[in-house]
Amino acid sequence: MSFRHTMLGAAVCLFIFYLGLLLSLFYFVSGKGFWEVLIHPGTLSAIRLSITAATLATFFAVAIGLPAAYALSRFEFRGKRIIDTFLEIPMIMSPIALGASLLIFFNTPLGEVIQKEGIFFVFEVPGIVLAQFATIAGLATRLIKSSLDEISPRYEAVARSLGSSSWQAFYRITLPLALKGLIASVILCWAKALGEFGATVTLAGAMPGKTETMPIAIFTALASANINKTIVLIIILVFFGLCTLYAVRLTGGRRRYD
């Protein structure tokens, strides 16, 4: 077998593997059964909750991730490497461990004060947002930083010499140049938040109609041997996932000024 055929064969095998997994789902589900599960209030509630929580978590992650990424990309400061390393904690830590850490934190005196005086997180909807935020904030910062690293700081230097303040240079020059990368980062983080299970179930629990997101609904449906519901939820989740990946591919197209 030639070199080219070996490499291509591996790619095709992987494709068949994933495609086979997806196609096998349809073996157990009929058109009518699919529709019944889809319009069931519990399913719609899980979809709604997942989308809302993932959107909020992504918003907060980008709101803090963008300035943090800028600082890490542009400035030299003491402790930069330590911060940079800590951003990878969600990537090396199991989601359940992350969720458990959050749960433990809310049992400390500080955590209890936050819960009493501020927002209640444990086994509540804000807990879903927080768990998803904890999972994606580091990733968001890392992805946005990569986009910013590709943009020469020289552009901002010139913009400032031409009369722009550092804020103006950021939003007139750097932000438009990083926009495509930023959008791709947002979409990827949103997709990851949407599929987040471990941290969410640990912190927010799995209460149907209250804290049951799609991945949690899949788990509970499977645990109660409701295969039909499990499959429908998987298909919906995969559909959302593929849509977001396709959107990322679209944003990765050539810029008009390239």
Binding site: R154, V158, S161, G163, R255, Y257
Partner: protein, 364 residues
């Protein structure tokens, strides 16, 4: 007038100590130094992007070193130009006017004139990615000049261009300077570029200004062997002062047994008998004497007999490697092509060479 006083920068391996530069209004001033000597750091400090360890910067009577870059009225054209890729050429050009909240109408005529002068009128709706190297340079210059800065900083403005475009942009810079009279500080490592463009030059080496002066003074009268070597000077010799005649104001120098007579005014520092100095013989001021022609009295003081060792065609001139019979000193002589054709020279030929007094320069 722009004054930079005692500018000191410590950054990584760079150490710039107490740099002084004064730039007159409308002057084209070049900071000439070898590659990697920290010239760009100096520009960044002047612009306000980097905080110098010490030093003051005045623009006119305004002290600006504590101001942020946007309030210094200094424009900057970096080596990579940094044209904003997401903005059209027109948007790039008017960026400074918009950012400084200047009335666009007040600048319209001025910018239009520059657009015509730089021949970029047909490029206004294009994006930087669709411009050639020369066009990008023009747009970057125009963008920097459009808002009438008090000082324009140019970082290696002619680097990375094809030879033909380089000549064109060089000429354009010259025309722009004479038409619009911006005050310019240009950093470059290319002494030919600096000589062509500048009114005055600061030679910057090893973290300090080695020499400041009018361009002719710099090239004809370098302060040290180091500067002379950097400027591409050939024919540098270690010489000893044998005697001096205060009445005639002349000195006699010796290089490997060969003696030269020269006016004391061509010595940079005081003449002390017995002192060792660096002698610089300018290749373009050395004459090969034709046998049939009478030699002027002033040339007779320094006539050397020797042999042509090598001839190199440098396209615009011929470079002759001449070795004196006495002392076996090698002297490079550059001769214009038309003169070379009349001299009938060949490798191995024995000739007489006369050193014009202007060909000699002594540095301690």
């Amino acid at each position: 007038m722009i004054r930079i006083e005692g500018l000191s920068i410590l950054f990584e391996t760079f150490k710039i100590m107490g740099l002084d530069i004064t730039i007159e209004e409308k002057e084209f001033h070049s900071l000439l130094g070898p590659t990697g000597c920290g010239k760009t750091l100096i520009l960044e400090s002047i612009m306000g992007l980097r905080k110098p360890t010490k030093g003051k910067i005045w623009i006119g009577e305004r002290e600006v070193q504590t101001l942020p870059p946007e309030r210094r009225e200094i424009s900057y054209v970096p080596q990579d130009l940094a044209l904003f890729p997401h903005l059209s050429v027109r948007e790039n050009i008017f960026y400074g006017i918009k950012a400084r909240n200047l009335d666009k109408q007040d600048y319209e005529d001025y910018v239009q004139l520059q657009i015509e002068e730089m021949k970029v009128g047909h490029l206004l709706e294009r994006y930087p990615a669709n411009l050639s190297g020369g066009e990008k340079k023009r747009v970057a210059l125009l963008r920097a000049l459009a808002s009438k800065p008090k000082l324009l900083l140019l970082d290696e403005p002619l680097s990375g261009l094809d030879p033909a475009i380089k000549v064109e942009i060089q000429q354009l810079l010259k025309t722009l300077h004479s038409s619009f009279n911006p005050t310019i500080l240009c950093v470059t490592h290319d002494f030919e570029e600096a000589y062509f463009l500048s009114d005055r030059i600061t030679i910057f080496m090893d973290g300090k200004a080695e020499q400041v002066g009018k361009k002719d003074d710099i090239f004809l009268e370098p302060v040290s062997k180091k500067v002379a070597q950097f400027l591409g000077a050939r024919n540098l010799y270690r010489a000893k002062i044998l005697s001096k005649d205060e009445f005639m104001q002349r000195a006699t120098l010796e290089v490997d047994g060969l003696q030269f007579s020269m006016p004391m005014q061509l010595c940079r520092d005081s003449i002390e008998v017995g002192k060792e100095v660096d002698l610089f013989i300018r290749p373009e001021e050395v004459m090969i004497i034709r046998k049939e022609k009478p030699v002027k009295e002033s040339l007779k003081r320094n006539i050397l007999l020797g042999k042509i060792m090598d001839i190199t065609d440098k396209r615009r001139y011929q470079l002759i490697n001449f070795q004196t019979m006495e002392g076996k000193i090698n002297i490079e002589i550059s001769i214009p092509n038309y003169a070379f054709r009349n001299l009938d020279l060949a490798i191995g030929k024995i000739v007489n060479v006369a050193l014009r007094e202007e060909s000699l320069w002594v540095m301690s």
